[in-house]
Structures are given as structure tokens and as C-alpha cells.
Amino acid sequence: MADTQFRDFIHGATPLTGQLGLTHVTDCARLSGLVASRKLEPRLCDVFGEPLVYLFYGRPAYRRAWSGGATTNLDYARICLILRDDVAAHAHRILPFDSGGFGRYSGAFHDSLTLADFEILPTDHPLKIIGAFYDSLEDYWMMEPVQPRTFPVTQHIVRSYYQLITGGLSEQFDDRCSAIEVQLADTLLLDGQVLAVIGPNQIFDDPKVKAMVADWGAEPRGYRVPRMFNPAEVAGRIFSEVERFLEDQTWL
């Protein structure tokens, strides 16, 4: 039986005003399927054992493998869909981090904590999590929670999460530890839900992609593929492009 401490804490929090949208990151190899279906279909998740669509609030976290080490998979050029904020209303499950990394975080948490202890009510908006731990959307984007903060002994789960996002645990994790994850259990039809499509310039040469983007009323935002060839650029490219979109929207 999961502890509802974290859920209750977030439920009682005041959501920040504003919006960042939700992101879904995929890659060029999946583009043709996206063009054909124009929807995001749940795929079986080995963490939860059920078909799910993964989105992240604002930050374009990418559910790549947590293998780490010296060997890294070569990336296909990434594509990021920025979705309307109210897609979060369809949430099946919301977690305050990339659940794929929980196996790693848990080593730094108390033994008794499980993934379910960090679930919030799917009817609560991710902006409540941001409001609970950050002063602004900018701070969430930059991963700068309010510091310092103290929590009573009875709020040990909340404190553990706070330590996770402030680097206060024995082990440090990358940005995915603070990227709010929104899971959908149902197929998401993308018509009318996409604000922007970020991808290599050349994908927008394709008449089918152009038609899809136009039908959605989304903004095409292309980048140059050779920029992705430099390893230092790979992780930051989509982040920079999403950040720029949020700036242009004056949401950041």
C-alpha cells in the first residue's frame, strides 16, 4: 500500500501560473509512423507492465536507456512534439521524475520507498509540483528549486524528493530526476494538440510532414542535422530548441 504523503503534499500545493506545454521526444526513424497515424499510441512499458505514452512537462526529457558507462548509443536525429498544456488532463499517472530512473534513485532513497509513493493524483496538474518546489517556471526549467527548505520528520518522502532535486542525496543524477513525467494510458490523437514540431530542417521538405504540421496548426522548427554530429551537441540540441520556443512564446 503506497504512502499518500507525497500525493497529499502536492494536492495541497498552489500551482504556479503560466504554462510550458508537454513534450514528447522521438526520432527520425519513427517519423513515417507518426505521419501515417498522427497519434501517439501506448507502448508496453516494462517498468509499469502496461501500455503507456510518455510525456514530460516542459523539459524535453528523453527516455533513453540508463545504461551509462563509456558506450553510448548513436542517436538518430531527434524530433520533439510540444503539446498543449491541457493534454495533462488526460493523465493516467503523474510522477515528479523520469520513472525509468527510479531503480537508480532508489539506491539513494530509504529502502522502504517505492515508485508508487511518489505518484500524485492524475487530476492534479504538473504545475502543482512546480509550485510546491520552485519559485517560478524558469527555476523549474533551470532545475533550481527553492533553497533552503526544511520538512518535518513526518514528511520524509517529500524530503527525499527534495534532496533528489537539490542534489542532496549520496548520488547525483541528471536532469531526468526532476523532469515531471505524465503518462497516458490511452492513444493521444494529435490533431489540435500540437503546438510545435522540432526536427531536422529536411523533414519539413516532405509534403506529408508539411501537410501534417499545417493541419495541426503547429509551428515547424527546423535545425541543421550536422550540428547533431558533435557529441557535446546531442544532449543539448532539443533542449535549446524547446527553450527557444518557450522564449518565443514568452512562456519562459
Binding site: 558506450t71 517560478s136 509551428e219 554530429f229 557535446a232 522564449e247
Partner: protein
């Protein structure tokens, strides 16, 4: 991807298509040499420069093996590849690849791919194709929406073009959305450049100093883009470079103004918050400001204000300001540079301003601690009026500065107040030849202001940009000038000596022989020595056998850098003439300047009756009697007897001040004398006035009053 322990060379064995299945640029895959079975990709510092190899996992698919397997070396040319439809991959070293691709720009296979062409032409920097290809790419985006096209143009073409011209303007590198910082970082602390072109205006957002030269540079850069790409960039656009807007967050307390943060003991004062707010200044206590700084928008300028004894707190508060524009303002009641100030100011990177004014503390309730720096706030406000942003380094060109204020009187020439202002600045530690800016307050004409600038330029490097005038009831000059930064007494003393000599020259004197701290001074009538002294112990000894030569005939002028009034007054009864550094303003060649100096020393507004003043007044009465400068008296007064009494070594036994209202430059003294029969005492009240040509006395019988 780890670069650590990567080899210095590797063999290219395949290419990977990151946009598969569509054609496009290919990423070379490399294998280790000599038994190293790892896989790598190239790390590039520039398209033509290979700086390393990063280990990767071999991809499962979408790779093509190479027939030829060139060995690549760090520092050499990297390998590039491109896949055209229905062809084997085109793979070659950078320079060869570039030339072969140049011949394919017009290839029919790319005819309906304007955005792929943009990638090719932009990445490979084919200048000759850019105008046509850029326009085609822009139109391709425009088909999906004008906003999308304009935003793409701004970040893909405009911003990189502007970023490339920053070095020519002496500005630091900035990263745009599509160009990394200098170390290839995308989310580093490297400042960002953003450009937005809309409604006939181009806003360029960047960090750092933005002056007129930069504004012109950006305008020129845009005009060049218009000339090159007339179909992309409209003509007649006004370019404005400014600092980036703050991002979203809680509403700030004050968006565009100046915040004064009270630090240390002055927090005990009583601030008229509403009044300051109405004038555009936000005043906050330090304890509330710093916690709020991280969640609020930052003011254009933060002034950390504290009393001189609270330098440690000021430095600490400054450290917490991060990159925000801030200045430390220290209120000092000491007109001299204090060793402690110099030590603490060396610990901050922020600009500092010392302002000489009393500060409100807990013991002085009811005073507003911000009021003393009103002149500085007015300067800041006026300097901010000039543009959309405020560059703190443009106002404070030196790191350590002082602000000195000098009231102006209607009957003065420009030289006298300029000399006095410069003298006070030198005394307080201004750097001779240091950078400075002059401001005028109240009824000062532009021509007069220029005269003051010309005069002060003899001593300081005065900024000659457009003068800033401040409305005020009283006319005054304000000099913001560089202050000494280090505790090096010898260097400072030499700077001060040169400043003093220049002051004399400004006043119209000729400098004769220079002996270091002593030098000769001459005009058309006389020549005498001058010595500069820092302490009383440095004053040259008088000849105990010689008589005082008289006030106007002293052979040596002693200039006291840190003068105490009593020291000057006592000294002026002796063989040398003693003056403070500020008195140089009154020492005008060809005039009887001694009397003006003595008048100031005796009758300055803050002057109090003292033993030294009493004895000097006695001497001046004697001098007036000797010169016959006696105004008609109502009583029968034996001036010769008074002269005898006042020249005695214990003259203070016979004379005292009378505390009553007197005209300016006049003192009233009572002298006790015996009547001619010797049987009774008589008291004479003497009004001593120092006029420009000497002292004048007038006597009255005052016998009815008790002497004590």
C-alpha cells in the same frame, strides 16, 4: 559519450544515416587501431577541424560500410558524408567533400528539397548560393505559416550573422540557438544573443556593455544583410541592441528602476519608503532583499548602501549579487582615505563609490539613511534616462570611485570652485589623472559647465560626453572620480603632490624648482617655497632665534594635506604660513590672498572659538593697529596699549571671544586693560573683520560687563 582515454587516431569504416530512411548528411563511424575494438564518432571543433574521438555503441542499422578506410588523426581534417537518393554514399575528407558537394547544389535530386539545400549551403558555407537558397528555404517555411518562417529566419540566419560580428565590436562571444558557445556548449554560462525582427524594428538582446558604437555596429550588420538578402530582410528597420528581458517569474517589486539595499547599521534609520517609491527608487532592507533576489526580477541597478564602518557587510552583500548590476556605496564621515576602506574595497569586484556625508544610525533616530545619497541617486536616474538599459560600467568607469559635491556661489569665477572641488577630491584620495565625470546641479549654464570641465581636466580625465544636468534649488558641482584602490602610501603621496602642483598651476602660479615634497612657487611679484606635509611631525622647524616676519611676508607656505584647523591657526602666528589643501583655491597670484585664507580658517561655517583662534585674532588685531586699519571708534581707546598686551606671550589672559551675532568674516572680542591711572580695569569690545586687503578693527568701551 566519453572522450576520456580516446585514441589520437582511428580508422573510418562506415557511415551512419541519422535521418534514415531519408537521404542527407551521414555521420562517419570509426574503429580503433592496433587491437582497439571500440567504435567512435568524430569530435569537431569546427567543420574542418577534428579534435577527438568519442566512443559509441555500433548502431543496429542504417549504416553503410566504406570501401576505403582512411585513418583520421586528431588535428587533421575530419571525414564528411552525404547520401543522395539512389547513389552510394559520398564520403571524403572535409576540403574534398566540400568541393564535390559544391558541384551538386544544383542537382535535380535536391530540386524539391529547399530545406535540405539550406542545410548543405549553410553547413558548408557556400556563399555564392546563399541568397537564392536562403530565400527558397524561407518560402518553404512561409508555406507553413508566416510566424514560423520569420522565427526560423531570425534564429537560423539573422542571429548567427549578428553573433559573428561581435568580435569586431570588441564584445565577448555569445551563443545563439543554432551556434554554440566557444566551447561547444549549448547550455553553459556563455551569454545568449537573441534577435527579434518585427514591425519595422529589430531588437537585439545580448549581455555586456552596449554603447553607441555597438548600436551602430548592429545597424551596419543588419544593413549588410538587407543588401545581401533583400527578399528576407526588410529595409528601413531600426536596430536597437539591449539587454535581454528577464524571463517569467513572480512579479517584481519594481521593474525598471534602482533598488537601494540598506546594509549594516543604517538599517536603523527611518526610511520614507513611499516618498522614494514615488521618485522611482525602491528601498529595501538587506535581510529582505537577498532572499527575494532569486525569485524576483532584478532591478536595473542595485545600490548596496552602508556606513563606512560596515565595509565587511557591504562586501559580503556584494558577493551575493552574482552577475546582477550593483554598486557599493559607502557613506564616510572621514574626508581622508582610510586604510580599512582600501583593504575591504579590494575584496569586492563591484564598483564602489565613497560619498562623504553623515549617516543615520540607531543613535540618530528620525533621519532617512537614503537622503545623504540623493545626489548620487539623481545622477543614476539621469544616466538611466538615456537608454533602454543601464550599463553600470559605463557610469562607473573605474572600479573605486568617490563622489564629491561643491556648492557654487554667484560671485565666484569658475577656477575657484573647480580648484576647491579638486582639492577636496585629492585630499580624500582621488587619483591624479583618474577617470572622472562632472555633473552640475541647479543654476549652472551649459557654458559654465564646460568651463568647469576645462578647469578640472587639468587634474582628471574628465568624460566629455553629453553633460548631465540635475534640477536642484542650490547650484553645485558633483565630481564622480576614480579613487585610490591600494594602500601604497608612496604612490599615493606622489600622485597627491603632482595634483597639488597642478592645482597651483591651475590657479595661475608658476612652479619653480621642484624638490619633491617641496617646490618653489612664483608669480610676477614674488617667489616663495612651498612644502607639502601629511602630518604635524613633518612641519619644518622654525628658527627659535628669529622673529615672526609677519603674515604677508612668510618665506614658506606649508600645505597641510590632512589639516587640523587648530594646527593652521597656531602655525599662522609663527614664521611660516600654513594652509589646507582646499585653501589653494583662494591663493590667487597677484592678490593679498593671505587674508582670504585666514578669513576662511577663522570664520568658516563650522568654526568654533578656540585657543588657536583667540591667539590668531590677537595677532590680527595687532596687525590692523600696526597698519592703522582702525575704524572710527565711539570710545577713546588706547590702541598702542592694546597692541602691547596682545603681543605678549600670554595674551590670552587679556582677551576673549564674545558670543554674539556678527557680520560675516567678523569676530567680536573683549580685551581687558588697566586704565591709565592703573587703579581700575577697563574692557574694550573689538570687532575684528578680515577684508580682502587686510584686517580692520573697531573698538567700543565695554567696561560695564564682567570679564569672565
Amino acid at each position: 559519450m566519453a572522450v576520456a582515454r580516446a585514441p589520437s587516431q582511428a580508422r573510418a569504416v562506415a557511415v551512419f544515416n541519422p535521418t534514415a530512411p531519408a537521404p542527407g548528411f551521414l555521420q562517419p563511424l570509426l574503429a580503433g587501431i592496433g587491437g582497439d575494438n571500440r567504435s567512435f564518432v568524430q569530435v569537431l571543433a569546427a567543420p574542418a577541424r577534428l579534435i577527438g574521438f568519442a566512443e559509441v555503441a555500433w548502431p543496429d542499422r542504417d549504416f553503410v560500410s566504406l570501401n576505403e578506410e582512411p585513418v583520421l588523426q586528431i588535428g587533421g581534417e575530419p571525414l564528411w558524408g552525404f547520401l543522395f537518393p539512389d547513389e552510394p554514399p559520398l564520403v571524403a575528407l572535409w576540403s574534398t567533400f566540400r568541393e564535390r558537394m559544391r558541384t551538386r547544389v544544383d542537382d535535380p535530386k535536391l530540386a524539391d528539397k529547399p530545406l535540405q539545400l539550406f542545410d548543405i549551403v549553410d553547413t558548408l558555407d557556400f556563399d555564392e548560393f546563399k541568397p537564392a537558397v536562403y530565400v527558397r528555404a524561407y518560402r518553404a517555411y512561409a508555406e507553413m505559416g508566416p510566424t514560423a518562417a520569420n522565427r526560423w529566419r531570425d534564429r537560423s540566419i539573422l542571429e548567427p550573422a549578428l553573433a559573428r560580428m561581435l568580435p569586431a565590436l570588441g564584445l565577448p562571444p555569445h551563443r545563439t540557438t543554432v551556434i554554440d558557445g566557444p566551447a561547444g556548449e549549448t547550455s553553459s554560462t556563455t551569454p545568449r544573443l537573441r534577435a527579434r525582427l518585427a514591425d519595422g524594428e529589430l531588437l537585439v538582446f545580448l549581455e555586456g556593455a552596449i554603447g553607441e558604437a555597438e548600436q551602430r555596429g548592429f545597424q551596419d550588420a543588419y544593413d549588410q544583410l538587407v543588401a545581401r538578402y533583400p527578399d528576407l530582410f526588410p529595409d528601413g528597420v531600426r536596430v536597437m541592441a539591449t539587454h535581454p528581458p528577464r524571463r517569467a517569474g513572480p512579479p517584481q517589486i519594481k521593474a525598471e528602476g534602482t533598488t537601494v539595499v540598506l546594509v549594516g547599521r543604517i538599517r536603523e534609520g527611518q526610511v520614507s519608503y513611499d516618498e522614494w517609491t514615488s521618485q522611482g527608487f525602491e528601498v529595501v532592507d538587506e535581510s529582505r532583499f537577498h532572499p527575494a533576489l532569486r525569485i524576483r526580477r532584478v532591478p536595473k541597478l542595485t545600490i548596496l548602501l552602508g556606513a563606512q564602518p560596515d565595509w565587511p557587510q557591504l562586501v559580503e552583500a556584494g558577493m551575493r549579487m552574482g552577475e546582477h548590476a550593483a554598486v557599493i556605496v559607502s557613506l564616510s564621515t572621514s574626508a581622508a582615505p582610510l586604510l580599512r576602506d582600501l583593504e575591504f574595497q579590494a575584496q569586492t569586484n563591484l564598483p564602489t563609490v565613497t560619498f562623504f556625508a553623515p549617516y543615520a544610525t540607531s543613535t540618530v533616530r528620525g533621519r532617512d539613511p537614503v537622503t545623504p545619497i540623493r545626489p548620487l541617486l539623481e545622477i543614476v536616474q539621469r544616466e538611466m534616462d538615456g537608454g533602454p538599459f543601464f550599463d553600470v560600467h559605463r557610469l562607473f568607469k573605474a572600479q573605486h570611485n568617490m563622489l564629491v559635491r561643491e556648492p557654487l556661489w554667484s560671485n565666484q569665477t569658475s577656477i575657484e570652485p573647480a580648484c576647491r572641488l579638486a582639492a577636496r577630491a585629492l585630499k580624500a584620495g582621488a587619483v591624479f589623472g583618474g577617470v572622472a565625470r562632472l555633473y552640475s546641479q541647479g543654476a549652472v549654464s551649459r557654458a559654465d559647465h564646460q568651463d568647469f570641465v576645462a578647469a578640472l581636466s587639468h587634474l582628471f580625465q574628465i568624460d566629455e560626453s553629453e553633460p548631465v544636468h540635475i534640477e536642484a534649488r542650490r547650484a553645485a558641482l558633483l565630481l564622480l572620480v576614480e579613487r585610490i584602490a591600494q594602500n601604497e602610501p608612496s604612490h599615493y603621496a606622489d600622485s597627491q603632490r603632482q595634483g597639488i602642483m597642478r592645482l597651483f598651476e591651475l590657479r595661475g602660479w608658476r612652479i619653480g624648482q621642484d624638490h619633491g615634497r617641496a617646490f618653489d612657487l612664483e608669480d610676477d611679484q614674488r617667489r616663495f617655497g612651498v612644502v607639502i606635509v601629511d602630518h604635524a611631525r613633518d612641519v619644518p622647524a622654525e628658527d627659535p632665534e628669529a622673529a615672526a616676519p609677519g603674515l604677508t611676508r612668510a618665506p614658506l607656505l606649508v600645505i597641510h594635506v590632512q589639516a587640523r584647523r587648530e594646527q593652521l591657526l597656531i602655525g599662522n602666528r609663527g614664521q611660516f604660513f600654513h594652509a589646507a589643501i582646499e585653501d589653494i583655491a583662494l591663493i590667487e597670484p597677484g592678490t593679498l590672498w593671505v587674508w582670504k585664507v585666514l578669513s576662511r580658517q577663522l570664520f568658516e561655517p563650522a568654526a568654533r572659538p578656540s585657543q588657536g583662534a583667540l591667539r590668531l585674532c590677537a595677532s590680527l588685531i595687532v596687525e590692523a593697529v600696526r597698519q592703522g586699519r582702525i575704524q572710527r571708534s565711539l570710545s577713546d581707546i588706547d590702541w598702542n596699549h592694546i597692541q602691547d598686551l596682545l603681543t605678549s606671550s600670554d595674551c590670552e589672559r587679556f582677551i576673549r571671544f564674545v558670543d554674539r551675532r556678527t557680520p560675516r568674516r567678523t569676530a567680536t572680542l573683549v580685551i581687558q586693560i588697566a586704565d591709565k591711572s592703573g587703579s581700575d580695569n577697563q574692557q574694550i569690545a573689538v570687532d575684528l573683520t578680515i577684508e580682502d586687503d587686510g584686517p580692520v578693527v573697531q573698538g567700543t568701551d565695554f567696561t560695564e560687563l564682567p570679564f569672565d
